[in-house]
Structure formats: structure tokens, C-alpha cells
């Protein structure tokens, strides 16, 4: 099988013709969407490499907005990948699932500057109580950048 051969398809979001691999996967050079069978079979779930669902991407594209996850989508991505990041005021923060025992995983927030770690018992605890520089994360989410898989 020659996996170096280039294939083409229309991007699921912007409908422009793009190069993909043999499995019709590949990043759209026009809109930035990673075309992937998993998102196409399940247009409402979040799966790497994309940080939002296919249906959300279509909506944002139609509105001319960037493909950025809101806090709920970030949390969904966390449960899929286990290790996430964002940046605020020049400082990187890691958000990770932590498994202490066989119970439901906890959520850790790690400040890469101070090395401080805060543990939250579940999504609601994190979304309602996680703070960055003394501010609730949910209140400053739109000011964060580099929301991504943990790099």
C-alpha cells in the first residue's frame, strides 16, 4: 500500500478541495479543520486532533469565527484526551485527569510558573471553582489563549 499517495476530498467544514491521506484524514489548509472519520461519524463529539465538534465547527465557520472551544467543550476534550492546556497572561496551565484509585478521576489544575497544583473533584467543581490569578476561570475563559492538547 502506498500511503505517500495523495488523495483529495472536500473539507467537511468549508467544502474546499483538500489533500488527505488514504483514510481521508487531513488538515484543511483553508479553514484549519482536521478532517477525520471519527468526527464525520459522530458530528457532535470532540475527538483529537480537533478541539470542537464537527457541527460546532460548521456553525463557527458560517459565522466567520475561529475554531475555539468554550469551557464546556474544553472539559469534554479533557475527558477524551486526559491532558489539556491553556495560557493566561503569559503563563501556561495544565488541566489533567488524575486517577488516584478506581473511583472517578479527579481534575488537576497546574500552574507552570508557580508549580502549584489544585485538585477538583469533578467537572462542576472545576468549572465553578477553578481560579487563575484569583479570578474564576469561567469568567476569564475568553481571555485565555492556546487552549489545546497538552503540548
Amino acid at each position: 500500500m502506498n500511503n505517500e499517495k495523495k488523495y483529495s476530498k472536500k473539507c467537511e467544514v468549508c467544502q474546499k478541495t483538500i489533500d488527505v491521506d488514504i483514510y481521508k484524514q487531513g488538515k484543511c489548509s483553508y479553514c484549519g479543520w482536521w478532517n477525520c472519520f471519527l468526527n464525520e461519524e459522530n458530528p457532535d463529539i470532540i475527538a483529537t486532533p480537533n478541539l470542537i465538534s464537527l457541527n460546532k465547527a460548521k456553525k463557527l465557520y458560517s459565522e466567520g469565527k475561529p475554531f475555539e472551544p468554550d469551557l464546556n467543550e474544553f472539559m469534554e476534550a479533557l475527558h477524551g484526551y486526559s491532558e489539556m492546556q491553556f495560557k493566561y497572561n503569559g503563563v501556561y496551565y495544565a488541566v489533567e485527569l488524575v486517577f488516584y484509585d478506581k473511583s472517578e478521576p479527579k481534575i488537576s489544575l497546574y500552574n507552570s510558573q508557580t508549580k502549584a497544583i489544585t485538585i477538583f473533584i469533578d467537572d462542576e467543581d472545576f468549572k465553578n471553582n477553578a481560579k487563575v490569578e484569583g479570578k474564576l476561570l469561567k469568567d476569564i475563559w475568553n481571555d485565555t489563549t492556546e487552549r489545546d492538547w497538552l503540548q
Binding site: 500500500m1 500511503n3 491521506d21 483514510y23 484524514q25 482536521w34 477525520c36 472519520f37 471519527l38 459522530n42 463529539i45 470532540i46 475527538a47 483529537t48 486532533p49 469534554e76 475527558h79 477524551g80 484526551y81 486526559s82 491532558e83 492546556q85 501556561y92 495544565a94 489533567e96 485527569l97 486517577f99 478521576p105 488537576s108 497546574y110 507552570s112 508549580k115 497544583i117 489545546d148 492538547w149 497538552l150 503540548q151
Partner: protein, 97 residues
């Protein structure tokens, strides 16, 4: 075929952490490097071509052992990637190499 020396071969790719494809050539491994040639992540692909195992070699965050493994739970509709913890607490599975 074992997961060491995958029968379908080993494929180097350049990219960012988290960019490994979800499906690839069956029984293969992709080694993901950054632009400076640093190994970031490896992904093992099973007989049906779906990614089944990750080994993370380098990324940010808090306290991690390096490398550490994650498995993919395809039985869950969100395909989560929980960390691997071996019977003696080890963070990598020697069956994947």
C-alpha cells in the same frame, strides 16, 4: 505480530502533540517528532488500523514520569485516552516497544 517491531512498519511524522491520526495502516506505529527532531509521542495501530496505544515522551504539565502510556477505549463513544497504570504501578507497558 507483536507490538514490538510492528509488522506493518514504523512511520516517522512531524507535528504537534495530539495530531496523530485516529486511523492508519494496520499493525503499524507512528513516531511523532517536533520540527527539531525531538520525539514527542508514539502511536500504535491495531489490526483494524485504529489507534490503540499512545506513549507520551514530552509535553508540559505537572509531575509526569517519562515516558508514560495511554490506551484508547474504543468501546466508549468518546474514545477516551486514560493513562496506563501497570499491575505494579508502572507507567509504560513493555509489550509496546
Amino acid at each position: 505480530m507483536g507490538m514490538c517491531k510492528p509488522s506493518g512498519g514504523i512511520y516517522p511524522q512531524t507535528g504537534r502533540v495530539g495530531s496523530l491520526p485516529r486511523i492508519w495502516l494496520p499493525n503499524t506505529r507512528i513516531d511523532l517528532y517536533d520540527e527539531n527532531g525531538r520525539l514527542l509521542q508514539q502511536g500504535w495501530y491495531g489490526p483494524d488500523g485504529r489507534i490503540i496505544w499512545y506513549r507520551d515522551w514530552s509535553h508540559g504539565g505537572g509531575e509526569h514520569e517519562w515516558p508514560h502510556d495511554h490506551y484508547v477505549n474504543w468501546g466508549n463513544n468518546k474514545n477516551p485516552r486514560p493513562p496506563y497504570i501497570g499491575p505494579n504501578g508502572e507507567k509504560t507497558n513493555s509489550n509496546y516497544c
